[in-house]
């Protein structure tokens, strides 16, 4: 099993619903977020192209955060989801330094926090909160090993890219372009 997410950059309108849904679902402290929108504007008016991306932890296959964690608080669970055990985390910040996507932050309570692909929902057969609420249905989540999952089907007929592949982390967020 390999959970992954595909983000359709052509359908995303950058409304930020995924951000708010995540903050509500996961009780993310005020001023912090586990997912966020990036707007990439390329070209000069009037020939401008905009790419909108809903970004979050890439739940990398070769995750540097897990590698550098001195206590084993950062770990990978079934399905490839990268998780942090709060009461094993000492808050040293090594994983924050190691992430090319800056997807982790120091929670005001001291431990390091990040996107969990809403594991608590996925375990119950639900979709992650961000995917559930997206008004344009531009987020696809599922098991890459299952050819009939939403994410596998989304990747079948579209061109896609991952972010900073040169970082060697084998990220699992696929951006449909």
């Amino acid at each position: 099993m390999r959970y992954a997410m595909a983000i359709d950059t052509k359908k995303c309108v950058g409304c930020g619903d995924c951000v708010v849904a995540c903050q509500t679902e996961n009780n993310v402290p005020h001023g912090y977020c586990r997912d966020w929108i990036v707007e990439n504007v390329a070209g000069t008016y009037p020939n401008v192209e905009i790419e909108l991306r809903s970004e979050r932890c890439n739940h990398c296959d070769n995750s540097p955060c897990v590698r550098c964690c001195p206590t084993g608080a950062s770990h990978i669970v079934e399905g490839g989801i990268v998780m942090v055990t709060a009461d094993k985390c000492i808050g040293c910040g090594a994983c924050i330094q190691s992430c090319p996507y800056d997807a982790r932050y120091s929670h005001p309570d001291g431990y390091v926090d990040k996107c969990t692909f809403c594991k608590h929902r996925v375990d119950n057969g639900q979709l992650p909160a961000c995917v559930e609420v997206c008004p344009t249905k531009c987020l696809y989540f599922g098991d890459l090993d299952d050819p009939n999952s939403d994410v596998s089907k989304a990747l079948q007929h579209r061109k896609w890219k991952v972010l900073a592949p040169e970082a060697g982390t084998k990220p699992q967020l696929y951006f449909l372009t």
Partner: protein, 313 residues
């Protein structure tokens, strides 16, 4: 004109607009770790070479700084932790892929060893010193008898400690300025050089200072060589590393790096040491202090600048 503009909706404290999660504690700790490694390495070396008599300050007196440096460094590290009450989790596991785990365990070994080393010279520094308990006297006698073995262990641990202060940074491939394997040897050599400077400052013997000066000149030479290689490597690497090098070649860290680290911290003290060896009288504290400050500034600059560099996407 071809433009590309990124706007991120994210604004998390200490993460955006650029990473600033490590403050003064980490560079101070890396510095003190390197200094301790340098002092202990040469204390061990000259003990093994049976030069305790000629190199008194290096073998006996400078190591008295080490327990203080290590405890202060560990305290700085503790201050850096954001989930402080869980720090003991470091010592519940050994993680070979994590430099921080290596460092935590190395310090766990080298700190008590530095205490033991100092304890064996306690009576020479304070002739009236008394350990009060019989078993402590026995332990002291045992440690003194096995000083050479202790010296070997100390030297090896000092190398691991010195290299680790660099690898701690170089293992992060997300920060292009740090992600170069030269950082391990570079930090080790810089640590050895600061250690020599401290011993040199404490030494009263002309012969000893001369030996230390010569060694230090070699260290400075190697350090400059490694720094040149660092930049050669960056400038022929990918875009993110070219940009990392640019921070020092015209960018915001240019002045502090070239003036305080290279000129005042390496080149100038090397000139002074050369003049001293040629017979000119130069107060020893001047090159020693310059090297010690240069090493500290170097670590601050590297930690600060490294956090700014990142992958572009």
């Amino acid at each position: 004109m071809k433009e590309e503009l990124f706007v991120s909706g994210r604004d998390i404290p200490n993460i955006d607009p650029y990473l600033n999660i490590w403050h003064w504690q980490i560079p101070l700790y890396l510095y003190l770790g390197g200094l301790a490694a340098g002092i202990l390495f040469f204390a061990g070396y000259f003990t093994i070479m049976r030069k305790e008599k000629d190199m008194e300050a290096t073998v006996k007196w400078a190591p008295f700084l080490v327990p203080f440096a290590l405890v202060l460094g560990l305290f700085a590290l503790f201050l850096d932790l954001k989930h402080k009450l869980y720090f003991w989790q470091l010592y519940t596991t050994v993680r070979f892929t994590s430099p921080m785990s290596w460092g935590a365990w190395t310090l766990m070994l080298i700190t008590p060893i530095s205490f033991i080393w100092v304890a064996t010279y306690m009576k020479e520094l304070f002739p009236k010193w008394d350990w009060k308990f019989e078993f402590l006297n026995k332990a002291e006698a045992y440690a003194i008898k096995n000083r050479k073995g202790l010296a070997w262990i100390m030297m090896m641990l000092a190398v691991i400690l010195g290299v680790y202060t660099g690898i701690l940074l170089s293992a992060f491939n997300a920060r292009p300025l740090w992600n170069t394997s030269i950082l391990g040897p570079l930090f080790l050599v810089s640590g050895l050089s600061t250690g020599l400077a401290a011993s040199m400052w404490m030494s009263k013997s002309k012969y000893e200072r001369k030996v230390l000066s010569r060694l230090d000149l070699i260290m400075i030479g190697v350090e400059l060589f490694l720094i040149i290689h660092l930049f050669m490597g960056f400038l022929s690497a990918s875009e993110v590393q070219i940009e990392a090098a640019a921070l020092f070649l015209g960018g915001e860290f240019t002045v502090v790096f070239w003036v305080f680290v290279i000129i005042l911290g390496l080149v100038f003290p090397a000139v002074l040491e050369t003049l001293e060896l040629r017979g000119f009288h130069i107060p020893v504290w001047i090159p020693a202090l310059l090297i010690l400050i240069g090493g500290l500034v170097f670590r601050f600059v590297m930690v600060e600048a490294g956090q700014i560099t990142r992958f572009l996407y």
